[in-house]
């Protein structure tokens, strides 16, 4: 277990941005953190990196056995960039315009590993080659403005990986990129993770990106976790009304993705038909300055509207384990129905159980 987060809270003077989240992350696994603006997904990742100055961070963040909450700033500085690294959405504003990309990659390596300039410089060239930048030796001597958006993001990834970290946090790494370039960067992250066996925490608002690269998914809403499950279960059998609503409201690229969906009414894998109405979630994400009481989703919740319960308004729902008949035992090829590989005890890692925070799940409106 490389990262173990428990009851993480991040409070700013204006309000609480993250209100008690927790998860485990192993080496070689990818956790997708999904949420809309203000859900607390980026604030959580910055807290793990120890990058909040004005915020009160409480709870527990254990990185490779070491507690980071309350750790001295100097210790965090040693770990940051060396054993945990981060890639941001906008590569241009994360790169210094004055220094060549080679110098910027070499700096972290020199600092953390006490390498000579020469060795660090070689390392930078090596890393640029690894992330697929052509003519790495020449490109290392160029400044960031000479690189395209996709190439800059490759540079950021090269920089993040230069010290061989155990954990890579990628915050919307492909949101600013074109879709064909996004495909390249996602392939790159996936390949590097498999080659090096690092743990990846991928923060995104894009459900498609999560479906492509994540092993498990944490869905955040209003600073809290509403659902946490293996990736297939999130998409096949979402339990929380917010997750269901998100999946149902997203337009689909193909009509075929609805095939074999367990229960469209529950917002399973089925998308709305093209041209028809999308099933939008009413209202807007909550303000963290004045979050709604109880379950933060209840003002927008279809299930609450149908069967209101007092608890939804008075009590924050606990994140509870759900073990139901929902485990999926095999992956079937979409068109032929042929089983590709079994999933479960021996086929794949056991993964986390399905957890959801909803007073009404399992009573009404849930699938099956």
């Amino acid at each position: 277990m490389i990262l173990r987060v428990r009851d993480l809270r991040v409070a700013f003077p204006a309000g609480t941005a993250v209100d008690g989240i927790g998860f485990d992350l192993d080496r070689g696994r990818t956790l997708g953190v999904v949420g809309e603006s203000g859900s607390g997904k980026s604030v959580s990742s910055l807290a793990i990196m120890g990058l909040h100055r004005e915020a009160a961070v409480s709870g527990s963040i254990v990185f490779d056995g070491e507690e980071l909450v309350g750790a001295p700033a100097s210790r965090l500085r040693e770990l940051r960039g060396r054993r945990m690294a981060m890639v941001f959405q906008d590569p241009l504003s994360s790169l210094h315009p004055f220094y060549t990309v080679g110098e910027q990659i070499a700096e972290a390596y020199r600092l953390h590993l006490r390498a000579s300039r020469r060795v660090a410089r070689e390392r930078a060239v090596e890393m640029l080659a690894e992330v697929g930048i052509p003519e790495p030796r020449r490109r290392a001597g160029e400044h960031p403005h000479r690189f395209s958006g996709g190439m800059r993001q490759r540079v950021m990834i090269a920089m993040a990986l230069s010290c061989e970290p155990d954990l890579l946090i990628a915050d919307e790494p492909t949101t600013a990129l074109d879709v064909t370039v996004q495909a390249q960067i996602l392939e790159l992250i996936k390949r590097i993770q498999q080659d090096r066996g690092i743990a990846v925490m991928l923060i995104t608002h894009d459900l498609g990106v999560v479906a492509r690269v994540a092993d498990e998914v944490l869905v955040m809403y209003g600073g809290r976790t509403v659902e946490h499950a293996p990736v297939r279960e999130i998409f096949r059998a979402p339990r929380h009304p917010y997750t269901q609503g998100l999946l149902a409201s997203a337009p689909r690229l193909t009509a075929g993705s609805a095939e074999g969906s367990p229960d469209p009414a529950a917002g399973g894998a089925a998308g709305p038909a093209a041209g028809g109405r999308l099933r939008a979630i009413p209202g807007s994400p909550p303000s963290l300055l004045a979050p709604p009481p109880g379950c933060r989703f209840h003002p927008r919740c279809a299930r609450y509207a149908a069967t209101p319960e007092d608890a939804c308004v008075t009590e924050a729902p606990e994140l509870r384990e759900f073990r139901g008949p929902l485990e999926i035992h095999e992956i079937r090829e979409i068109h032929t129905g042929r089983a590709l590989r079994p999933v479960g005890p021996e086929g794949a890692p056991a993964g986390p159980v399905h957890r959801t925070a909803c007073h009404l799940t399992g009573t009404l409106g849930g699938p099956r």
Binding site: V179, T180, A269, R277, A280, I281, P285
Partner: protein, 335 residues
Amino acid sequence: MTGAPPTRPDGAPGTVPDAAPDAGRRSTPLLSVRDLRMTFGKRNGVRAVDGVTFDVWPGETLGLVGESGCGKSTTGRMIVRLLEPTGGTVVFDGRDITRLGPRDMRPFRRDIQMIFQDPFASLNPRQTVERIVSGPTRLLDRRGVIELLEMVGLGAEHADRYPHEFSGGQAQRIGIARALASRPRLIVCDEPVSALDVSIQAQIVNLLADLQRELDLAYLFIAHDLSVVRHVCDRVAVMYLGRVVEIGSRDAVYTAPAHPYTRALLSAVPVPDPEVELVRERIVLPGDPPSPADPPPGCSFNPRCAMARDVCRAEAPPLEIHGPGEREVACHFAG
């Protein structure tokens, strides 16, 4: 819509009438764009839009998709005359509006409106919603403004507020109300939902669909999100480096894309279904989209195309009818 032999009334590519909805009933397009060009800079200018031709029919939605720098937004801006084209024509409702002066353009400015990507940047922060929606010429009185606000899902209580008091989705509704104030027949929507949260996107997409039905609006829907475009558009034009490389009915383009770029673009979009993602064929294009300042010779897609041969490096392929009349493709080897 299938079966009839494809024809071109004026010989222009990009205008197969069969592909338009209700082509029999409505025989003239609302908007005809012919060989539209935009070159920025004088010598060695950047050809941002390099000969774009398409029609938008009354009441339909034409999607204009492509990656950054492909010229889709520039095309939209030329149609509403925020930019003066350096070549080609824009015909609206039978009248060439490409070179109209400000006075002659005025009636057409009412007919053609625009919705922008960033709702806050496109609303004056010092004006109340009522001022914004009624427009600089005070097109509407307060009652008219409130009617429009209700039509876009806001209410009378919002009329006296300022833009900063609204969420992104609400601000986009205000932008839509403003566009509707002059009773337009065509709205150019430039990335109207891409700045919004997923749960809010669906609200705005539904609103645009409702308004289209109620008011018989035509949309030119410019977007990079191919899933949204599939949902809202009747027909789709795919642009690459200033040119349309494929145009046709939504189903033709999405279910059987003929241009290798369209195929790669569609296969690159992540689908929110891990089981589909696991087995889906994916074409990962090498390299980045080339710069319009320095386009490759021949077909501009050839440096990234797995099918490229000598002819692709020498000759730019014209947009030609491909298959049974539902689509046109600019590729020497369209499959």
